[in-house]
Symmetry: C2
Subunit: 329 residues, 2 copies
Amino acid sequence: MYYIGIDLGGTSIKVGIVSEEGEILIKTSSATPVKKGFEGVLVRIKELIDEVMIEKKIDKKNIAAVGIGIPGACSQEGFVYFASNLFWKKVPLAERLHEMTGLKVYVENDATVAAVGEYIKGVTKGKKNAIFLTLGTGVGGGFIINNKIYSGSHGIGAEVGHMVIGKNFYDCTCGNHGCLETFVSATALIKYCKKLLEENKESLVFHRVDGNLDNLTAKIIFDCARKGDSTALKVIDRMTHYLAIGLANLINLFDPEVIAIGGGVAEAGDVFIEKLREEVKKYIYVKDMNVTEIVLAELKNDAGIIGSGMYAKFNNSSSREIQNYAKMK
Amino acid sequence: MYYIGIDLGGTSIKVGIVSEEGEILIKTSSATPVKKGFEGVLVRIKELIDEVMIEKKIDKKNIAAVGIGIPGACSQEGFVYFASNLFWKKVPLAERLHEMTGLKVYVENDATVAAVGEYIKGVTKGKKNAIFLTLGTGVGGGFIINNKIYSGSHGIGAEVGHMVIGKNFYDCTCGNHGCLETFVSATALIKYCKKLLEENKESLVFHRVDGNLDNLTAKIIFDCARKGDSTALKVIDRMTHYLAIGLANLINLFDPEVIAIGGGVAEAGDVFIEKLREEVKKYIYVKDMNVTEIVLAELKNDAGIIGSGMYAKFNNSSSREIQNYAKMK
């Protein structure tokens, strides 16, 4: 049997067919028609599912279930409480997509399904207690605790991005102040870099955006840091410092075997991972026991499709022991 | 059968005999002879165990096991990595006490055993996901996750007191800056109150300590707050604010059914619990889902003895399903 894995974001929808072993057979994507609302997005998802099934000549009877990772919070029944980037609030995603496709549909937070992907196929494979962080536009989290997916008593846990860790120069979109997300997301890097560039226009960064700060991306900042630009380095140093505090908090609370960092920012992980590990050492409570591995995620852009496909497989199984899947080759 | 429950602190050792149902049959206590070192403390513990057994005419063959809650971190085998207030580092507590008593000995962090006590006999009874916080000289934490005790992959998790949440006017004893403990422990209340009193000697607090700030305790601050003293109220407000941020962090991460607050500071919970609940609402990420109960712990001073006794029972059982004990009357 096969699974449909869907990575639903505010910018794009990625859909793939995933094998029992977590391999992607085919994938496609499309911009997310956010403005068309919940039903409009559903229609596009259905089109993409049809597209990959037709292309691969895989019939509905060979699809065991559909998994979707969403940028928000939902119940175990696939009722979405909210997904800010999609402007969704209280929508019955699993129910509606099941009506449209006739397939079983399982919904989870996007970072949680990516954590599942990494646990089954990636860098946290089979680790009893693992935390996955995704650093992108925002910061998401997915937890594996005692070899089980953990998203809390009501499905609203693992919101690592909204852990308050300090004072910042701007508020979080959630209304709080000092959320981890406002220090270490791509958005945070851009904001802080702009702030520094207001004072110092001599930076290489300023040249790379042709003098127009609207063109600034996290990637440009990382590129400039690699070339030794002092402004860019200052931005990365600050991010590394606060990320270390965030990871130390997670270690002091969860004491996991491993923390994996994914998302766009992690793709430039070579720039900061060593320094990050050094800084975390300083902030953990039991300094003699520096035992949590800190690693970069493996599945990159495919984490969402593989993870949601595997999440569907897991939910569709009788034993619901995710542990068994981590033993697959 | 019976269990010996031991609450080992930097100031006192409390020892009791606990029934299968978690009732204390007898208890005693003594100052902790910290200066006599590890072996000296062991001797005193042994004396207290003998005392309660002789007093209750309960023979060793009727004691199934011993549980100890320690102010520090340890392995599952009862090897203590460190316990700062006792000046212990890397001592084989379970092994040595077993040699001295011939009884099976189980060791856990003091807040974790108190969490076990509350889960079996107290205010978090049978809740699938529950967090216990103890606010005393420091701040400790104990987690129940999926109806199991959770202290991490290496026994060094649940260190809630050392979650960094902001900037403070002094450093934490752990070497970090901004730990929750430096905002909400009894020590933190005293430090902040002294700071305010340097500027304003008109406070009722100043009179209550007879002008000598060395006499200041958290209890005096709470008493003065109840009488409307503005300095004391300012201290409690600040504590409540930061405690709300800390609890919101825990809710955003764990999404538990309940958070229970124990320890000395919680005994004055009537002064701040309502305001705390209101503030937490403001800081949680999913504001529509204000579903985590925030309650004061029930077992008070007996939490350590009951909790460690029940921890011993749990560890000594074949199923090790703590869930079953929470069903006891």
